[in-house]
């Protein structure tokens, strides 16, 4: 049918058409073929991929919930599945050197994302299984900020202020379906006297029209509640409806990964600090009484030297 449609003006003997017509016939056929491939493969792939991914995330949740029911949870429910090399992670959990360093609780973060005139409001509330001081330490460890999320593909401390602030540059890659976009961001990050953290985007050095992020960290014992509030207005074109839906989905996934890593790194630091303290006490127990005072001081200072 396509042959008839395309080559209707070309006679079989070549007369009335010539090589030019034959060439038109072939190019018409190739155009139709390309369009049919696009229609039959690409469009369903684009439409179905979010659904397939959504199904995968549902499976992950179920998997997580099953784990939650086990008496000894060893992996955080916040743990990312997308970039997780499960085999290696599981192997590592079994080795004695890492066994004490695993997060101890499982709590899914609550994530709300809303969009209004190109500005995204994101709110995340999560209970992190690590003391507040370690969560703060991870969030203000700007040199290692890339550990929080694999999507931070570049990071750099541009300078530090006297008011516990720092100018931090990050380049983040965000993918929605098969389209990826890299966004440059420079923020002034400040640790407030309350222990909370505020980060304000410098628009002239960023691909954001505006943006402010607020981390509220409330400690209770060996855990803390972290509330993340952000208003971000990216300076890129996002197609309406489908584009915004995919962006929200991508933000949700990245927030889950970030919070899982925040919990993991904080709890690793806390466990390491605890081990160092114990080693210190062990050593101190073997020495004379006058030494004990300085040993105790040393143990309390471990937090600052654990880098």
């Amino acid at each position: 049918m396509w042959l008839m449609f395309c080559c209707r003006e070309v006679r079989p003997d070549g007369y009335g058409g010539g090589m030019d017509r034959v060439s038109k016939c072939f190019s018409c056929l190739s155009r139709i073929l390309t369009r049919s491939v696009c229609t039959s493969i690409l469009i369903p792939a684009l439409v179905l991929s979010p659904l397939i991914q959504a199904e995968e995330s549902t499976k992950v949740s179920r998997f997580t919930l099953q784990r939650e029911k086990t008496p000894e949870p060893v992996v955080s429910s916040l743990a990312p599945r997308k970039h997780d090399v499960s085999n290696y992670t599981l192997q590592r959990e079994k080795t004695p050197e890492f066994s004490q360093l695993q997060p101890r609780t499982v709590t899914l973060p609550e994530i709300e994302i809303a969009e209004n005139s190109g500005a995204y409001h994101i709110k995340v509330v999560a209970v992190i299984a690590a003391p507040a001081q370690f969560v703060r330490k991870v969030l203000t460890d700007y040199k290692h900020i890339y550990r929080l999320n694999p999507s931070i593909i570049e990071s750099e401390v541009l300078g530090r202020g006297d008011d516990d602030s720092a100018m931090v540059r990050t380049r983040v890659i965000g993918c929605a379906a098969y389209f990826c976009e890299e966004l440059e961001r420079v923020e002034k990050v400040q640790l407030l006297p309350s222990g909370n953290i505020v980060a304000e985007i410098v628009p002239e050095k960023s691909q954001f029209k505006s943006g402010i992020t607020y981390w509220q960290i409330k400690g209770f014992g060996d855990r803390c509640e972290v509330t993340y509030n952000a208003n971000l207005e990216p300076d890129i074109y996002i197609p309406p409806v489908v584009g915004k839906f995919l962006v929200k989905k991508s933000i949700r996934e990245e927030m889950q990964i970030s919070f899982a890593n925040l919990e993991k790194i904080s709890s690793v630091l806390a466990a390491r600090d605890w081990q160092q303290d114990n080693q210190f006490v062990d050593r101190c127990d073997k020495v004379e009484m006058p030494m004990r005072v300085s040993c105790a001081e040393g143990a309390s200072k471990n937090l600052s030297v654990m880098d």
């Binding site: 060439s23 090399v85 290696y88 992670t89 040199k143 570049e154």
Partner: protein, 125 residues
């Protein structure tokens, strides 16, 4: 039409030649020697400074893929997001560029080999 055919043939030849030059990077013969020479002196248990501070051991392929106590350092097929590539390429700031200290820096070719290997799936070959 003949011109179009010629153009198509040329494009096909270019595409095929592009495929042919995309060499497979071998872990054992290309990647391991770089890690051995530039990274292993610190990332070796039990006393290597890099091992002590992060838990990353470069003793073997398995320990490398296991990563640090903070997470994996290699995401197979994705050098942009892999910590190994971020740090060797200096994408986390110059002060974080690997290798640290007195070790000789990686050459541009060595950085490219690590990138290609990760992008090709970071397999043990």
């Amino acid at each position: 039409m003949f011109q179009r055919l010629q153009l198509s043939a040329t494009l096909l030849a270019v595409m095929l030649s592009g495929c042919a030059t995309n060499q497979v990077v071998s872990y054992q013969s290309d990647v391991a020697p770089i890690l051995q020479e530039k990274c292993r002196q610190c990332h070796i248990p039990p006393d290597g400074a890099g091992y002590v501070s992060t838990g990353l051991s470069m003793e073997s392929y398995d320990t490398l893929m296991r990563g640090t106590m903070f997470g994996e350092v290699i995401i197979p097929g994705d050098s942009k997001r892999s910590v190994l590539n971020k740090l060797t390429e200096g994408r986390a700031g110059e002060s974080m560029r690997m290798p640290h200290g007195v070790a000789e820096p990686l050459t541009a070719e060595e950085i490219e080999v690590l990138k290609e290997w990760v992008d090709q799936g970071a397999i043990y070959n």
